[in-house]
Subunit: 322 residues, 2 copies
């Protein structure tokens, strides 16, 4: 009964655009558990209007600054803008305070903008569906453009950026070897590539390298959208209008062509899979917490092995019911 | 029957120290599946002698160079050294070719060293237990010191570095805001802190900052090991002998004091949990692949929600049997 009450009153207030209701429901979604599910289920059914833009790139590529600049332009077009930033800063300390966030604080008091940092802390497996729940909450609250910003490191982060209508991968000149190698794994998911910091003299090289890699067919996802490369500079304020135009072109492409269909299907499938996996892992965690330490002791003494013990563990419980 | 044959012959050859058998069994472990489990179970029971050292740090902190230098010193002490590098480079392309790896190639032909890069590609949830299987394979093959190097971004990577007898967190001067914020999440897991690149003039500041954070109690894990901070320079070859001494001190501490016990218990528990979770997720993936697209279609049209559909999905199958 209390879940029902939470559901109907809070969802109604979200739908009325009340920002503290939005913030509260996102927090409840982050906490997880069965109580919040009816509300999130209702949110899901009412959502589906916003344009969701995934932005990813390795650390130092200038994602947050770019999101700030794009937000300004979207506001100028009369749109309300939601920003969900997945924050890998502190898996142990649980803080969600990237330095870059602070730079966006000029917008923090604008009621047309809602910014939320979500820590990856404690969110094994659950981060993907919680993020997508947060997107839907903002959608129902009337935000027309929603940015989902993730660091392009770690599989979940990359998949989340991909589970958007339009995915932007940000590259920057002058990153180290290790970051360059990480970047390679991101290139394929981009609908639009941005090379940031184009006020730097070595940016042309980054653009050329990127265009060469794209010619090698790295960006093919079966659709006939021609992946675009846009150079921007947040300092010199160049390339940003071109980027907004590219985003709008891709939005129209997804909405009006049959190629939008498989994209939506892939997102829905990802959503269902992640929600089910998380439910399963939560049930397992509850069950595992009730185990005594005898399995661990046997394992420590190497009297058994993790495979036999894991199989035995899963035989003992169906994990079907909460 | 074929699994039994794989098990007995391959494990025997690993135990005899045959490096191509080591490489083959690690590849089989990466592929996963039920066929390789008996072999890995046997490996687990025979392992437990090596000293496992987890090394982590944000991109650009100089982890790989440090592992190379430490490997040289361990070899000089008469030890055989195994290196497992978890490589986040390319989740989509599946390549495992960090530039840093190449720098270690001088050791690639030394039979006393075994280097293996493991891509995180396709390894959702499975990476942790596959890495620990690879560690055990090297252990059974007679490698006395095993380095597990992970980028300290992403929860699994951090947990893997922590699931070692000795965990080293590498910091470096002069990293950007975003990387500094990521670093904060790593500090608590260190038994030994290394500040690399101490030939740089700004390294003293990094050491001072780190020591201040440690005074604030960030490194307390309930044991009475006094966390050490060692400054190193791979260029100037300084601090490396001190680091080897600190590692040996920690090794002796874990082996000889009762505080080693909870550490081993935590590692065994992590191992069991990850193996069971992976088994569960594999069963779910097999089951989900057999689903027709009707659930996804309903979800796309927002006629239902992910929570109801996930719960219904899990009701239909017990996931108990392979």
């Amino acid at each position: 009964v209390s879940a029902r009450i939470l559901s109907s009153s809070l969802v109604a207030r979200v739908q009325a655009g009340q920002l503290h209701a939005v913030a509260r429901l996102i927090s409840r979604a982050e906490q997880g558990g069965p109580e919040v599910r009816p509300a999130l289920a209702e949110i899901y059914r009412r959502a589906g209007r916003a344009h969701v833009i995934g932005i990813t790139g390795v650390p130092g590529s200038g994602k947050s600054t770019l999101v700030g600049k794009l937000t300004g332009r979207m506001l100028a077009c009369g749109r309300r803008v939601g920003i969900i930033a997945i924050d890998p800063s502190s898996p142990y300390s649980g803080g969600a305070i990237l330095g870059d966030r602070i730079r966006m604080s000029e917008m923090a008091h604008d009621p047309r903008v809602f910014i939320r940092s979500m820590a990856t802390h404690g969110a094994t497996g659950g981060m993907a569906h919680t993020t997508l729940d947060a997107v839907d909450i903002l959608d129902v609250a009337g935000f027309e453009t929603i940015f989902v910003e993730t660091v392009g490191v770690g599989q979940d982060e990359v998949h989340i950026a991909k589970a958007a209508h339009t995915t932007i991968v940000v590259s920057a000149p002058g990153l180290g070897d290790e970051l360059q190698a990480m970047k390679a794994g991101l290139l394929e998911i981009a609908d639009i590539h941005v090379v940031s910091k184009c006020d730097r003299s070595d940016a042309n090289r980054t653009i050329t390298d990127l265009e060469q890699m794209l010619m090698l067919g790295m960006a093919s996802d079966g659709s006939n959208w021609a992946v675009e490369v846009v150079g921007t500079s947040s300092v010199a304020e160049t390339g940003l209008d071109e980027l907004v135009e590219a985003i709008e072109r891709h939005r129209a492409y997804v909405a009006r062509t049959p190629q939008g269909q498989p994209r939506g299907q892939a997102i829905a499938e990802f959503r269902l899979r992640k929600t089910a996996e998380n439910l399963l892992l939560q049930r397992f965690a509850d069950y595992f917490a009730r185990e005594d330490g005898s399995s661990t002791g046997k394992l420590m003494r190497r009297e058994s092995d993790p495979y036999s013990m894991a199989a035995a563990l899963l035989e003992r419980e169906t994990l079907q019911n909460q």
